[in-house]
């Protein structure tokens, strides 16, 4: 990168907040999807919204691509740098600006962690609902970009349901407020578009979140089943009875084994474990929890453990939330997939995944949000064995095909990012994708804001920037978009 430009970035954020040495840049070359790596030209760590604005303005003026990054916990390569581009690291923007308990909202900068919001308001009896497994470390700015979910979104929804407004820098450098601290701002829901746009439409500099009163009562049970089919039937029956649990999670034998090895939650021996949590007014939880317990037993549960207190509940959740990382205990490498199927299609799709595991020879563990059909197959492989990494990637892709064929989605909460953009055509038509590209171009005509994410790009050389046009090679039927 041109020294003159580097000097400008130093002037904006101070020399100590502009990183260029390869050793320092390495931290930023990937997010939590480590197989996609790219060294940026430069990392800037702004300390205020005004600095973010100045950085984006400079990038816009000079035609330099930029990628916003929170705490790098994303699982789809959404914060993957662009060659020759700038990473805007928002970790220093980590102030809690306002805790307003009477109006049930908290205003924070994007680098504040998800869990920090709950910590701020817990003494008053409140919490911030979306709870991705990474909540101790992930940033709220990243949550906004990815529309993060979590185990409790069946009842409480996703990030988009809990954000009242954001302040953001648009790709042209305008600093704007999107959404409103008060209800019913007139006009189209631009906030709803920005949340989940994976950092491709704006860089968020301030977030106003809604907080909820802690429920009066929480009850959690863990039921062991001999088959995933029986556990699945229990879920259908619970929801069929008109009960919306706060969470319904399932783990299969592979995932249970991994969790035991890593954090020893002392789960009962089982083929499948179902975790069901109800929360709400005590009277409601008491009445409905009895129905849930009974339903699990009728569906064939071999044991039903009810957490008698918060410590035991924490033990159950620790086992569940540790399942991803725990895979490292039982397999040298693993690939976390994120797909969604309609809940009623769970048994069918899980059957196909089991057959695929057998066919490919790669063990696949399943940990998933059963209530909303969000699957997280963990594909185990050993990169030291030639070809296994590629095979794992193919298997992961095949699972997405099953999800789409079942009427589902290629991602429920991890995002498309750089990882899944080439799967988008499996879900969307050329026209759908073209309109999404044009929408993006309307906000970012020069394609500088987190380019190369979300929307597919033909894997062909000689592409010229501009609205998508079919490549001549593609038109001739000699190549496909991946």
């Amino acid at each position: 990168m041109d020294e003159r430009l580097v000097e400008e970035f130093r002037r904006i954020s101070g020399p100590e907040n502009v990183l260029r040495e390869p050793i320092k840049l390495m931290t930023y070359e990937c997010d939590a999807l480590p197989h996609l790596r790219q060294m940026p030209a430069l990392v800037v760590l702004p300390g205020s919204a005004a600095e973010v604005q100045a950085i984006v303005r400079l990038c816009a003026k000079e035609g330099v691509p930029f990628v916003a990054r929170g705490h790098g916990t994303g699982l789809s390569g959404g914060a993957l740098p662009v060659p020759g581009g700038v990473v805007i690291g928002l970790a220093r923007l980590n102030r809690v600006l306002d805790v307003d308990i009477p109006n049930r909202r908290v205003t924070v900068e994007p680098g504040v962690t998800n869990l920090e919001i709950t910590k701020q308001v817990a003494p008053y009896g409140y919490y911030y609902a979306p709870d991705p497994s990474s909540q101790q470390v992930c940033s709220i700015g990243g949550n906004v970009a990815e529309n993060s979910g979590g185990a409790h979104c069946l009842k409480y929804g996703f990030t988009v349901h809990h954000i009242l407004a954001v302040e953001a820098v648009l790709p042209n450098g305008d600093l704007v407020q999107i959404g409103s601290p008060l209800p019913d701002a007139p006009g189209p829901d631009l906030l709803g578009l920005i949340v989940g746009s994976e950092g491709t439409l704006a860089v968020v500099t301030k977030v106003i979140v809604r907080i909820l009163r802690k429920p009066e009562s929480v009850q959690t049970l863990l039921a062991a089943f001999n088959s995933i089919r029986e556990a699945g039937a229990a879920v259908s029956d619970i929801i069929g009875a008109g009960i919306i649990p706060a969470a319904v999670e399932m783990m299969d034998a592979v995932a249970i084994r991994a969790a035991e090895a890593a954090v020893h939650p002392n789960f009962p021996p089982a083929d499948t474990i179902l975790i069901v949590e109800l929360d709400g007014p005590s009277s409601e939880v008491r009445e409905l929890f009895a129905v849930v317990e009974d339903t699990c037993r009728r569906a064939g549960a071999t044991t039903v453990e009810v957490a008698p207190d918060d410590t035991q509940r924490a033990r159950i959740w620790k086992g569940r939330k540790a399942a991803f990382a725990a895979m490292g205990r039982v397999s040298p490498n693993y690939y976390v997939q994120d797909g969604v199927v309609p809940r009623t299609k769970l048994p069918e799709v899980l059957g196909r995944i089991a057959a695929l595991s057998q066919r490919s020879g790669l063990p696949i563990g399943n940990v998933f949000h059963a209530g909303d059909g969000n699957l997280h197959p963990l594909i185990c492989y050993d990169e030291r064995i030639p070809g296994q990494a590629t095979l794992a990637e193919e298997v992961a892709g095949e699972i997405l095909t099953y999800c789409v064929e079942a009427g589902g989605s290629i991602t429920g909460e991890h995002g498309v990012g750089a990882d899944k953009k080439d799967y988008m055509p499996r879900m969307f038509s050329d026209d759908d994708l073209d309109v999404m590209q044009r929408l993006r171009d309307a906000i970012d005509p020069r394609r500088l804001c987190n380019p190369g994410k979300v929307l597919p790009t033909p894997r062909l050389c000689g592409e010229v920037p501009g609205p998508y046009r079919q490549h001549p090679v593609e038109a001739a039927g000699l190549a496909d978009r991946f």
Partner: protein
């Protein structure tokens, strides 16, 4: 070539007093898209119409070439009751939709003051009522959408699973767009089980401060009402709390709530309960007065009641309904245009309220106030999107909100 049925507009088709030149009723998505394509090519100012119940909302209409009606797009396409999702054409009425869903004990929890309100119109206006306290507004329940664009294409976004972050959420963009971007062909929603039981507490208050204190008591408690509303009519406030859950839980919560309130309250169930909420939803729309929507910070209810006192000094009697848990209100002002305009100005100058939009207004009132109020700082981005979706600028042209 448009094959959709076309007829000349008549007085009954008037939009905000303007009789459109023609009415088109496409019978399927393709006809809808080709109608828009032709209109865009010929630069015909077009207004999309569902049930026609909120068509008057917006800035005054100039000439309208075309009203494009979704009357024939009226099929409930699929109810996946095991998955608790359903997809309906834009022209299906909310009432009809919910009648069908009820066969499997499910519903789309959205209130409308209007019997004929359609799914398309509800999404396009993001209109809501008391149950938004628990379930949010239509945008919170919408999980997929199909749109017909002015270039003749039909595109979709989202899907029919409740959890999905693939691609841009065009459904959100359609929410509250008032038909300025594209026509809604169909919409897919997540559904909820119809609660087994419900009961409503109804209490009345003369003093706004006492009301505000009781509201704060309930807000900070761990009660979980489905709706949490006030109504001001004839100088008296009513506080209305709807609990819906299992029968035992409803009784227990009603008892706890009664203990929290400083005023005596009555428990209403069955048909009278339905009447209470019908009254709550419809009162602002009775008669022909101006209807104003506004928002406030929920903890500022005492200040809002003082403001309401001032407002009554200006306008005489008003009717105000509000969702006190979030600070979302609707006010009806009868009186003459000058009074109504003064009241809108009074609300807009108050530090306690924001997002003051005049929904129903006479042509006269619309000459005096901008119904949408000041543009947001992100208006340029929204305009850029409008330019992308509707380059000829034909959709709901000039009426806004963009």
């Amino acid at each position: 070539m448009i094959t959709a049925s076309i007829r000349p507009g008549s007085a009954g088709d008037a939009v905000d007093g303007v009789v459109p030149r023609q009415i088109v009723e496409p019978s399927d998505a393709n006809e809808l898209a080709s109608t828009l394509q032709a209109a865009s090519r010929d630069r015909q100012v077009s207004v999309l119409r569902g049930g026609g119940t909120k068509l008057g909302w917006g800035r005054p209409a100039a000439a309208i070439d075309l009203v494009v009606s979704t009357a024939k797009l009226n099929t409930l396409l699929v109810h996946r009751h095991g998955d608790m999702t359903a997809t309906a054409h834009a022209g299906v009425s909310l009432a009809q939709f919910n009648r069908e869903l009820a066969r499997h004990g499910q519903w789309l929890p959205i209130d409308s003051a209007f019997d004929a309100a359609t799914i398309g119109g509800i999404v396009a206006t993001n209109d809501s009522g008391p149950v938004r306290h628990r379930y949010g507004t239509p945008r919170d329940l919408l999980i997929g959408i199909t749109l017909a664009l002015t270039d003749g294409r039909i595109v979709k976004a989202g899907g029919h699973v409740v959890k999905n972050v693939a691609g841009y959420d065009l459904g959100k963009l359609a929410s509250g767009s008032f038909g300025t971007f594209a026509a809604i062909v169909d919409a897919t929603f997540k559904l909820l089980p119809i609660p087994q039981a419900s009961a409503t507490l109804d209490a009345s208050y003369d003093d706004g401060e006492v009301l505000a204190r009781d509201v704060m008591q309930v807000s900070t408690s761990q009660l979980e009402p489905m709706a949490f509303d006030v109504m001001l009519d004839g100088g008296q406030y009513r506080l209305r709390l709807l609990f819906a859950s299992s029968p035992e839980a409803v009784s227990a919560q009603i008892e706890s709530a009664q203990r929290l309130l400083s005023k005596p309250s009555t428990v209403v169930t069955g048909d009278p309960e339905m009447d209470v909420w019908t009254d709550q939803v419809r009162s602002p729309w009775v008669g022909t007065g101006a209807v104003i929507r506004f928002g406030w910070l929920p903890a500022k209810l005492a200040e809002i009641t003082t403001l309401m006192h001032d407002v009554q000094q200006i306008a005489g009697s008003i009717v105000m309904c509000g969702r006190v848990g979030m600070g979302a209100g609707l006010m009806r002002v009868d009186g003459d245009v000058r009074t109504q305009a003064a009241l809108v100005q009074r609300l807009r100058s108050s530090v306690w309220v924001g997002n003051v939009a005049v929904l129903r207004a006479s042509h006269d009132l619309k000459q005096h106030v901008d119904v949408w109020g000041p543009a947001s700082s992100a208006a340029d981005a929204v305009r850029a999107l409008k330019g992308m979706f509707d380059p000829a600028g034909i959709l709901n042209a000039g009426r806004g909100p963009i």
